[in-house]
């Protein structure tokens, strides 16, 4: 199977590199001089783009003020462009260290599993997450005795979030306020309990607890999200992930169906020592850990990120964390110490650090998807978030201090994980207007 994956993976990657089956938006064919050259974004190629296509650069590669990037990693379409080399499969540009499998979401709301050591890339982008351990046992199978049922029937007959048949549990209330609960033995810490839920029948409230029903929180768009991180009420079409968070010892986690006869499908019950839910982890009889994503740029890629002059664009998906008081790094220049590089710093702002200190700062809306562009060169650093007002630092020393290669994507040396998805990273080897760059698709 591993061999088959290794053979078919590259073929699929090649197809996606030139854009085809995984296009989210309606694809258009970019043609020039009567030759079909490839399939790109839904936006029509400009005459300038068509001209460049003739020189061998696909139409989907971002341009800014006519400049081509040195790197354009379009993770959400599983394609990348490397100046001087051409198209690449994104995984070939990354070194991934992760001692476990990891699940990652797709825009159609399903999740798939990625092998240890493989970057988790879907049409929502590249996932980078800290480690987590799911202490909820039998996370997919509530028919097991680890779950205590009261006026609730359970059947392992539902398709799960991975579309696998008979992998998730159908809960049916045989009386009002039916419950299914599991007691965990854990010291007092911040815990998040999350579970995927899809309504089968009925319209009554479905509730969630992590304190043995001391508080029942009704599942709604306020505490349930889809795979894009958008608040979504439970429904009969797709799973949504609902969660509650509290600081407590020995949580008792579970679900309550308020109305007799109502039924829901549930999958991946997860209790973790985090203040937000991270990708789902399957368990049976013991706790299971997902290792953190250690993702570094290969030497080829690192050499294309200039340390003196460049403009970087980060197109990021929504994240489940808010102002949680910790660093979340986009790109780390340094491999040790406390100085990251480009990242979001605690305090509700996103910053650029040149290796000496934080030089720019912009207010950031907690959890929201965003585009962030930063240009450094000469004596200035200028950054723009979503095309907004430029944050300027006028005494840039001309080089990113203490640079150590390879660059790390989405974390520092072993901390400050991004905990979300990178849709696209583009690096131009020149100083450009960050406002217009952050408006690029």
């Amino acid at each position: 199977m591993k061999l088959l994956r290794q053979i078919l993976g590259p073929i699929l990657a090649l197809l996606l590199t030139f854009g085809s089956v995984a296009e989210v938006s309606a694809p258009v064919t970019v043609a020039a001089a009567g030759v079909v050259l490839g399939v790109g974004h839904a936006q029509a190629a400009t005459p300038a783009q068509k001209a460049v296509v003739l020189n061998g650069v696909p139409g989907w590669v971002l341009r800014a003020s006519g400049a081509l990037p040195s790197i354009d990693m379009d993770f959400a379409h599983n394609r990348a462009w490397v100046g001087g080399s051409g198209p690449r499969a994104p995984p070939s540009l990354l070194t991934t260290t992760r001692a476990s499998i990891e699940m990652a979401p797709w825009s159609d709301q399903h999740w798939t599993s990625f092998a240890s050591g493989a970057p988790a890339i879907t049409d929502l982008g590249l996932s980078v997450w800290q480690a987590a351990t799911n202490t909820a046992l039998q996370s997919r199978d509530m028919t097991q005795t680890a779950w205590v049922k009261t006026t609730m029937t359970t059947a392992l007959t539902a398709a799960g979030i991975d579309n696998a048949a008979n992998s998730a549990t159908t809960l049916t209330a045989t009386a009002g306020n039916a419950t299914v609960l599991q007691t965990l033995t854990i010291g007092s810490t911040a815990e998040t309990f999350s579970i995927f839920v899809e309504r089968v029948t009925g319209t009554g409230n479905i509730q969630i607890t992590e304190n043995n029903g001391g508080t029942w929180t009704t599942m709604s768009s306020a505490n349930c999200v889809n795979t894009q991180g958008v608040g979504t009420a439970i429904n009969t079409t797709t799973y949504v992930r609902c969660s509650v968070e509290a600081v407590l010892a020995n949580p008792v986690i579970g679900v309550r169906i308020v109305t007799s006869g109502d039924a829901v499908n549930v999958d991946f019950a997860q209790n973790e020592a985090n203040t937000f839910p991270t990708p789902p982890i399957a368990t049976t009889t013991v706790s299971v850990a997902r290792a953190a994503d250690g993702i570094s740029a290969t030497t080829t890629l690192s050499n294309l990120i200039p340390i003196t002059t460049a403009t970087m664009l980060f197109n990021m998906g929504a994240v489940p964390w808010g102002n949680d008081g910790t660093d979340h790094v986009l790109l780390a220049f340094l491999q040790s110490g406390s100085t990251p590089g480009v990242g979001r710093f605690s305090g509700g702002s996103i910053n650029f650090n040149d290796g000496v200190g934080y030089r720019t700062s912009q207010a950031y809306t907690n959890g929201a998807a965003f585009r962030y562009a930063v240009a450094y060169g000469g004596t200035a650093i200028n950054a723009s978030l979503n095309g907004g007002t430029v944050s300027n630092y006028a005494t840039y020393a001309g080089s990113i201090a203490g640079t150590a290669k390879p660059f790390k994507i989405g974390s520092g040396s072993g901390s400050a994980y991004w905990n979300g998805t990178f849709k696209r990273i583009t690096v131009f080897p020149t100083v450009l207007d960050p406002v217009s760059v952050s408006a690029l698709p």
């Binding site: 590259p10 073929i11 499969a89 706790s287 850990a289 997902r290 901390s415």
Partner: protein
């Protein structure tokens, strides 16, 4: 699959390899369980310390990309308490003494394999496939191995503990 299709696919794969379009091949994962007196001793160990990083406060921490702290117990030593009213029977595990840690890498490190603290080394991919030779090293025999339980395990591990052959 026709000979022609096979030939085209083979050429395509070779061509992509030459062009650098091939994602890196996935190597087998090796799980190494080590036992130390305590965490401080483990982190101070020269070989184990290769899997640590220094946090912003200057303290060494395990690299959580490939290390997890373990609780280890013997299944046969579990005790049970009958449930009260609606609750099911409560099972209590009795952790073995010592500090256990699992280091998991995509290659064999001889210094780690031959470390005095090593309790168990398995090739995860072979283990998951139930292939003979999956256990590269163990300080205990099969009977004890079948009785051992580890928590947590890394996602993607499917250890045959309890029915190990």
């Amino acid at each position: 699959m026709t000979k022609h299709v096979r030939s085209v696919l083979f050429s395509l794969v070779i061509g992509m390899a030459l062009l650098g379009l091939m994602p890196p091949a996935l190597a087998d994962q090796y799980d190494v369980v080590l036992k130390f007196t305590d965490k401080a001793t483990a982190i101070a160990d020269a070989t184990a310390a290769l899997q640590t990083f220094t946090d912003p406060q200057g303290a060494k921490q395990w690299l959580n990309q490939n290390v997890v702290e373990l609780t280890v117990w013997r299944n046969s030593q579990d005790t049970t308490i009958p449930g009260i009213f609606w609750a099911n029977t409560v099972v209590t595990h009795h952790p073995l003494a010592g500090y256990f840690v699992m280091i998991s890498l995509d290659h064999v490190v001889p210094a780690l394999l031959n470390h005095a603290a090593v309790q168990l080394v398995v090739d995860r991919d072979m283990m998951n496939a139930r292939q003979p030779g999956a256990v590269l090293k163990s300080t205990v025999g099969n009977v004890v191995l079948q009785d051992l339980r580890f928590s947590p395990v890394f996602a993607g591990m499917n250890p045959p503990w309890g029915n190990f052959n």
